[in-house]
């Protein structure tokens, strides 16, 4: 390695700014052009760093997530059964996921028997509790229905910012879900032994 043996360039006995040029096999002095080129490169790096910092602070930084989104099954909170009277399904705070902001509650109706006067039928209701299982406030309720098969059942959706909808069977409530609530299946009508509403109550968390 000749750069180890070639003497440095000196001025007044002191080394001057220099670099070893392998093509010339000797030390050569830094020129103003070299320094200008370095300054230009540094300016580019500085600009890029400023852009990266600005994107990080503004949230515009692009990132890529990897992995898969697992499909979420509905949770059955009221097992399929023939019901001919009121039934309540309490959802305590310990079962509400910490990041849940909303919920979809579905009443699945498989079959209906019984005698129903005008205004009677099954309903799905949602109550939230301010404390424990008391101090309830009704958030949503479907209207009584006797429909079986197509267009049967009911859905209540709670999520902040959604459009408020109430078409009697499908109720959307624009609010955040309380971590302490109760789902109610209620029914009015007259039933012979074994008759009623063959139904199931399901729940799905929204994040």
């Amino acid at each position: 390695m000749s750069w180890e043996t070639k003497p440095l360039l000196l001025k007044n006995g002191l080394p001057i700014p220099q670099q070893f040029d392998p093509a010339l096999d000797e030390w050569v002095e830094y020129t103003n052009e070299d320094i200008k080129a370095l300054r230009s490169e540094l300016a580019l790096v500085k600009t890029e760093l400023q852009t990266i910092k600005a994107n990080q602070l503004s949230g515009d930084q692009k990132v890529t997530l990897s992995g898969t989104i697992e499909p979420q099954d509905n949770i059955v909170i009221g097992a399929r059964a023939v019901r001919d009277s009121f039934e309540s399904f309490f959802v305590p705070p310990s079962t509400v996921p910490a990041l849940a902001r909303g919920v979809i509650i579905t009443l699945v109706v498989y079959g209906v028997t019984g005698t129903f006067a005008s205004g009677e039928g099954y309903q799905l209701e949602l109550l939230e509790h301010a404390f424990g299982s008391t101090q309830a406030k009704k958030l949503a309720s479907t209207l009584p229905s006797t429909v079986s098969g197509n267009q049967s059942g009911g859905i209540i959706k709670v999520y902040p910012g959604i459009e408020k909808i109430d078409n009697h069977k499908y109720v959307d409530v624009p609010t955040i879900i309380n971590n302490n609530f109760r789902v109610i299946f209620s029914v009015t009508g007259t039933f012979q032994a074994g008759e009623g509403i063959d139904c199931e109550v399901q729940l799905r968390w929204l994040y």
Binding site: Y110, G111, V112, S148
Partner: protein, 53 residues
């Protein structure tokens, strides 16, 4: 009471049995707008279809 995985069919009255096997009479559904006989059978044995055969 948890029940079987029933599927259902409806006929105008309890004297009219749906086509196909396995149907049992469950009850009537009487409302101001309709009166139908409701039949049921085990969907795990006979399938999910609610259509009359």
């Amino acid at each position: 009471m948890v029940i079987l995985n029933y599927c259902y069919a409806e006929t105008p009255n309890k004297e009219t049995i749906p086509a196909g096997d396995g149907w049992e009479f469950w009850g009537m559904r009487n409302t101001p707008d309709e009166s139908v006989a409701v039949w049921r059978r085990d969907a795990d044995i006979y399938g999910e279809s609610e259509e009359q055969e």
